[in-house]
């Protein structure tokens, strides 16, 4: 199977290039990550990519696969058009080859205070939720922060330093919607900004590529709706 892989080492290379690999796959090589590991083991151990859980849970191996962001570990080789073009997540600074710098992404994640805020004294056992309240978090808590959505969002490409991007905004709603959280007002106030939230044009690229089938575009609309409700 033929692959064209983006190669670039900032500082060492003057410009990025696409390197061709022809790989003889083994019968049990079913996912794209298997092929990348085969290249790494048999042809070129200088090729850099991230991986960890190899089952779509850790979110490490997000990359651009034939023009579409996805996780290499849960992308079937059988469905890929050849040559398979692999590039780093668009819009993110490249550290090396397919490895991108996620520093800003996680700083933005930290900025929305991704934890339940409740200054009241803790109850003796736990802060309970009804099944209905818990159900409000479905479709939100499953996000693995792979950044496939943010890396496929033109608004995030143009303003990555100020727009929080779909992944972080989905996480923001996860805590806004949490019945145990007491900081909903401050959270919404923090997001009422021309850049942090309102750069979203609702084109739904994020929803289109989410490997966990979540809907960040809907989450962003829900945040706007909740903001609007605070006015009346």
């Amino acid at each position: 199977m033929r692959f064209l892989v983006y190669r670039f080492v900032p500082g060492a290379d003057t410009r990025p290039r696409m390197q061709r690999y022809d790989v003889a796959l083994e019968p049990h090589d079913r996912m794209l990550l298997d092929a990348l590991e085969r290249i790494h083991a048999t042809q070129d151990d200088s090729l850099a990519f991230r991986r960890s859980c190899r089952e779509g849970v850790c979110g490490s191996d997000g990359m651009n696969i034939n023009g579409r962001n996805g996780l290499a570990c849960i992308t079937l080789l059988a469905g890929l058009r050849e040559p398979v073009e692999l590039r780093p997540l668009p819009g993110f600074p490249v550290v090396r080859d397919l490895v991108v710098d996620m520093t800003r992404f996680f700083e933005q994640y930290r900025s929305i205070k991704p934890y339940v805020i409740d200054d009241e004294p803790p109850p003796e056992r736990e802060r309970l939720q009804s099944p209905e309240e818990r159900a409000q978090l479905d479709g939100l808590y499953e996000c693995i922060l792979c950044a496939c959505c943010s890396g496929f969002c033109p608004s995030y490409w143009w303003n990555p330093d100020r727009f929080l991007g779909p992944a972080t905004l989905l996480q923001a709603l996860r805590f806004i919607a949490d019945s145990r959280d007491r900081a909903t007002g401050e959270r919404l106030e923090q997001l009422d900004d021309a850049y942090r939230l309102f750069r979203c044009r609702g084109i739904m690229n994020c929803t289109e590529v989410c490997p966990k089938n979540l809907n960040p575009a809907h989450a962003i609309e829900m945040i706007k709706l909740r903001m609007t409700k605070t006015l009346v």
Partner: protein
């Protein structure tokens, strides 16, 4: 009702102006289908008639608001150097203001 803060107001203005324009256009299309004004004089009379005049003025106001928020957003997205951004916003504001001045006689005509 609390004061509408920050960016939410612009987003709401864009959504509400779009909604108003849609409703007005549906109404206008319906009215024209039922009784099509023949010729310039009939058009003019229809537009200046009491029941349509204020909704029409509001339509143009909504159009200008909608255009301002939309073009402002495009400039925020793509024009990053501050001097260039202010200049672009100035051009858009001037163009919309001139459009408003151009439309005023239609709405304010005796």
């Amino acid at each position: 009702m609390k004061a509408i803060p920050g960016a939410l107001s612009a987003w709401l203005a864009q959504r509400l102006s779009a909604l108003y324009m849609l409703l007005f256009m549906l109404y206008a299309l319906g009215a024209w289908l039922l009784a099509r004004p023949e010729g310039y004089g009939a058009w003019r009379a229809w537009m200046l008639a009491a029941p349509i005049r204020i909704p029409l003025a509001l339509f143009f106001a909504a159009l200008l608001v909608h255009a301002w928020v939309g073009l402002r957003d495009v400039i925020f997205d793509y024009v990053h150097p501050m001097a260039l951004r202010l200049a672009a916003l100035g051009v858009v504001a001037t163009a919309l203001a001139l459009t408003a001045i151009g439309l005023a006689p239609l709405v304010l005509a005796p």
